[in-house]
Every structure is written in C-alpha cells, then in structure tokens.
C-alpha cells in the first residue's frame, strides 16, 4: 500500500510494482517492434517519439517553470538545421545530434534573457517573434539552403548489425525518447527541477529562499530548447529532408497543444499528449473527400456540405479545427488534460468496487 520505509522510495523510478511491470512491457514491445512491423508503423512510432521528446522539453518550460513559449518550432528548426549541416560537414551522427541540442540550448538561453523581465502575453509575443524570425532566416538565407533547405545526409548509424536503415533510425529515436523521459523525470525530482516549479508557484518566495531567478529561468529555457533541438535533429533524419516551411507557427502551436492536452506539468501528460496529437495529425492530415463519404449516416451529407463550403478536394487543415475543438473542451472539462483523466481513473480503480 502507501507505506514507505525509506526516503529513497520517494525518489525511486517505479514507485509501484504494476507500474514497473507495465513500463517493462512497453520497453520490450518498443524494442521488439522492428522485428515485427514494417517500415510505416516504425515511421509512425518514430514520429510520435520525436514529439514526445519535444513535448517533454516544452513541458519543462511551460508546465514546470510556468513560462510560455510560442516559438518552439524555432528550436526544433535550429536542431534540424544544425544536425544536417554538422553531419554534412562530416561529423558523425551522435555527436552531431548532441551538438545540435546544445546549439538549440544556447539559443534557448538567449531567448530566456527577455523572459527575466516579461511575463504572460508579453513573453508570448517575444517567443512568437523568435519563432517567426528563425523560420524566415532559414527559409531566405542562401547559407541555409534557401527555400528548399539543405540536403540531409543518409542516416548511416548502425545500432544493431543487420538492421535496415529505417530500423536503426527507429531504435535511435525511441532510445533517445526513453532517455529524455528518464532525464526530465529525474531532473524534476531534484534540486533544479524543484527550483523551476518554485519559480512557477511564487518567484518572490523562490528568490528569498536563494533561487537565482536569472540563472534558473534562463536554464529552464536552455533545457527546454535542448530537448526540442534534439527532437528537431532526429526529425531531419526521420523525414529525410529539411523544409523550412515545416517550422511555422502552427508547429509551435501543435507542440503547445500536446503539452496542454496531455497535462501541464506532468511527465506522463507530455507522453499522452504527444501520442494523441501525433496520431491525430497523421490521421487527419491526409483526409480526402472520399473519406468523409465513408462515414456512416451523415457521410454523404457532410461531404456535400464540405464540398459546397470549403475546398472541393477535401478539407485542408481539418486537423487544426479538431485540435481547436479538443483544446476548448479540455480547458472546459479537464484542465489537467489527459493526465487528469488518468488520475481520476486510477483513483476509481484503486477503491473499486466500493
């Protein structure tokens, strides 16, 4: 039950036996996936895992430190471009990835500086400006390959001999996501993570207890940007190309939606939010008129309505309408997001059948 026998139990990774079992199952399943699935499922899982990394990073900033960012697509882009150009310059993939994360972190540190004086909507506008600037610079500057972006070198890292390129890439992405999960979770249980949360809840009390606001606010930006840059670096290989138009404001909003829908200030929430939004994104992106026709009962009417009022070929960007709706509903009914639903379910089953 809830009896604890030593202080270490509060720090322990898996506080209950069922949780350790389920996590073990999840790790085994993810590790076995390349042997079972073809390339497309691996691609989907990889896409989800990249978003998990970014959502974790963004949650450090938004959920735990209480700072807003509408410019995380900028860090994502910096990671993607940095890894591409470093790898093109001949650096092996792993060091290039790590360095790309660190470069993004350096920019995170810089963006953190205005955050020292700005809050809420003002900070939102500054980070928004950052994201748009990064996007524009990458898209226009010849040095970064202009509108087509730089060519991404082939992914040549071999983690398991005999595995295909896609399988190796999958393993790298999922392993990085697992390590990021562990790192962020641990960070939040120790001194630095506590300082982040303290700043969110009461920056005055935090500073009077000895937390250097300058250092920890910029640090939160840097840590957040590091993981986002790491995700961006993996994304470059995952997609096999770097297209500057991908890293737009909608992407920043999408990342933010993962954090909010999953659960602000929760590790599990970051994962859940990333999984749900990634799947929705993949499913909804390619919707055609024919897909609407197939819906039972209302399908024909709906398709006719959409055809008359929207685009003839289907509904471009319908996923954004869905996110918008989900965001509004989540804010109204479950401000803690999917994590809140999970907590309530757990509580229900703990006392079941009473």
């Amino acid at each position: 039950m809830d009896m604890k026998r030593s202080y270490y139990e509060d720090l322990r990774l898996f506080d209950t036996l069922p949780l350790s079992l389920w996590l073990g199952v999840a790790v085994l399943a993810l590790a076995a996936a390349p042997a079972v699935f073809g390339n497309y499922p691996l691609y989907v899982i990889g896409y989800i895992a990249i978003n998990v990394i970014v959502a974790l990073g963004l949650n450090v900033l938004v959920g735990y430190t209480g700072q807003i960012s509408l410019g995380h697509a900028g860090f994502f882009a910096i990671g993607a471009y940095a890894v591409t150009m470093l790898a093109n310059a001949g650096l092996p993939i792993l060091p290039a990835l790590l360095l790309a994360g660190l470069i993004a972190a350096a920019f995170g540190f810089l963006l953190g500086l205005p955050a020292l004086r700005l809050e809420g909507p003002y900070l939102a506008v500054v980070t928004l400006g950052f994201g748009l600037t990064v996007e524009t610079i990458f898209a226009k500057a010849a040095f970064f390959g202009g509108a087509t972006g730089p060519a991404v070198p082939a992914f040549d890292l071999v983690l398991v001999p005999g595995f295909s390129r896609e399988q190796n890439l999958y393993l790298l992405i999922v392993a990085t996501a697992g390590l990021s999960l562990l790192a962020v979770r641990n960070l939040m249980h120790t001194r630095v993570g506590r300082a982040f949360v303290a700043i969110r809840d009461s920056d005055i009390a935090a500073s009077c207890a000895g937390v250097d606001l300058t250092y920890y606010k910029t640090l939160a930006f840097a840590v957040s940007a590091f993981f986002t840059g790491l995700g961006g670096g993996l994304f470059a290989f995952h997609l096999g190309q770097v297209d500057p138009t991908t890293f737009n404001l909608m992407l920043s909003i999408l990342f933010l939606a993962m954090v909010v829908i999953g659960g602000v200030g929760s590790i599990l929430g970051s994962v859940l939010g990333a999984v749900v939004i990634s799947l929705l994104n993949l499913k909804l992106k390619g919707l055609k008129m024919a897909d609407f026709e197939q819906l039972p009962l209302i399908g024909h009417e709906l398709a006719g309505f959409l055809g008359r009022n929207f685009m003839e070929t289907g509904m471009a960007n319908i996923q954004f309408i869905v996110y918008g709706t989900i965001l509004v509903l989540i804010m109204l009914f479950e401000p803690l997001g999917l994590y809140g639903i999970w907590i309530r379910t757990k509580r229900y089953w703990r006392t079941w059948p009473f």
Partner: protein, 260 residues
C-alpha cells in the same frame, strides 16, 4: 553584544510616497525584536528592504559586519537571512516535504546533469537528496507537520500553511529570521504552539528574529524589544511594556483625542 542585523537610517520612496524615512533598528543573535505599527506604517517595506526585494535609497543594512542593501534577494538569502510572508507565499502545487526541500536549495549542490542522471541511491544527486531529506524530516517533526508531509500545501488550512512557511524558512538554517505576521489568522491554540516554536528556535539555534505582529499579547510574550513605526518613521522603541505605554504609540493606534 554587537547586533547581527543592523538597520541604519534606511529610507525609500515610491514616486512621491515616502514609505520609510530613516528607520533604524538592530537585532542581536538569540534576540527577538518585534516591529509594530498601524496598517501602512512601513513594516513590510522594512522586510522587503532587508530581503532585497526593495533597494533602499538611503541608509545601510548590515548583516554580521557586511552591507547588504542593493543585493538581490538570492544573494541576501545566501548570507543566512530567511523570511516568511504576510500573505503566504508557498509553492502551492508542491508537497510540504518539497516546500521544505526547496528551503535546502542553498545547502545543496547538484546541477542539471547530476539531476538528470539520478538513477540509483548511490549517485551523488540521490545521496544529496536523501541527506537533506533527513534534515527536512527533523524540521517536520519539530513543527508537528508529519500528518501533512505529502499533502499539496495549497490544500492545507491557513494556519497549517503558515507553519509550513515557517518550516521552509527554518530549513534554510538562517542566522536571521524575518517573520511577517506569523500568527495572523491563527486560533489561540495555534498561536500558543507558534510561540513555543519561536522560543525554541531562538534557544536551540541562536537565531536573530525580527517579527511583525499585531497581537500585543503575542509580542509581549516573545519579544525582548519592540520598535514601533508610523508613516515610515520610528516613533518608539524599548521593552514591550514601555512601547505599549508610549504616548506616540497610543496616538498612532487610537488617535490624538483618545490619548488626550
């Protein structure tokens, strides 16, 4: 006995409002000094000047021979000055234990990388956590907070939140403790507990305590000396009995007609 905390003629004004006009006071190790005065007299402003939230435009604040006016709050905290707040400033989404552990922030070292690498009980960050956790549990025992150890402090009753805030300040192992209306909103029993704790804190740790409080009974029981402020000026100083009977103090609280 030389004072541990010495405030010398500090003055601060906000725009045209002169909040403090040359306030002086001193607190020695093991001494409890109370700061009283009507609402708006500048008591909390004195605290904010000491803890570095405000920077006084005149005068000096000296802690153990070192001038601290103009330092930023976390630097002041490093010099061993802890405080509580009039309108509770707890980390309300954290548990009691985590609030107190944050109070240990200055005594801990582990940074980002060590924190991320926390895997087993033998790594440095985990060992440090456990060591400081032990200290925190001692304070939890001392302040009788065992029952709410893992509770989110935002859900705790007001009086208990005040005690948690005291605990967080104590976890910093301060040399000077600034308590801003610690007994406000507490019932009689809670006030008695608080009085005994404060007396114990002074006796056990030799802390210098500066206390803002309106309850004169409470002040009289605890403080060796009392300083009264009104409109940013010291109007009286002395033992609790002397200050309570001082004509200026009576005038400030009750009005000139009542005294005459």
């Amino acid at each position: 006995m030389s004072a541990l905390l010495e405030i010398d003629q500090i003055g601060i004004s906000f725009g045209g409002v002169k909040a403090l006009l040359g306030v002086s006071l001193a607190v020695a190790r093991g001494e409890v000094v109370a700061l009283i005065g009507p609402n708006g007299a500048g008591k909390t402003t004195v605290f904010n000047c000491i803890s570095g939230l405000y920077h006084p435009q005149q005068g000096r604040i000296v802690v153990d021979g070192r001038e601290i006016q103009g330092l930023r709050p976390h630097r002041v905290a490093q010099l061993g000055i802890a405080r509580t707040f009039q309108n509770i400033e707890l980390f309300k989404h954290m548990s009691t234990v985590d609030n107190l552990l944050l109070g240990r922030h200055l005594h801990m070292r582990s940074g980002v990388l060590a924190g991320m690498a926390l895997l087993g009980p033998y790594l440095p960050a985990a060992r440090e956590e456990l060591r400081h956790r032990t200290r925190v549990e001692e304070i939890i025992d001392f302040l009788d907070l065992q029952a709410v150890r893992g509770e989110r402090v935002g859900n705790l009753p007001y009086g208990t939140q005040k005690v948690v805030e005291l605990g967080r300040a104590l976890a910093m192992e301060p040399r000077v403790l600034l308590l801003d209306e610690p007994a406000a909103g507490m019932n009689l029993e809670e006030k008695q507990d608080l009085r005994i704790w404060i007396q114990d804190i002074v006796a056990l740790f030799g802390v210098a305590i500066l206390l803002i409080e309106h309850d004169m009974q409470f002040v009289g029981d605890l403080a060796q000396r009392v300083v009264a402020l009104n409109y940013g000026e010291c109007i009286a100083a002395g033992t609790p009995a002397e200050v309570r009977a001082h004509p200026e103090v009576l005038k400030a609280y009750l009005g000139a007609e009542a005294v005459a």
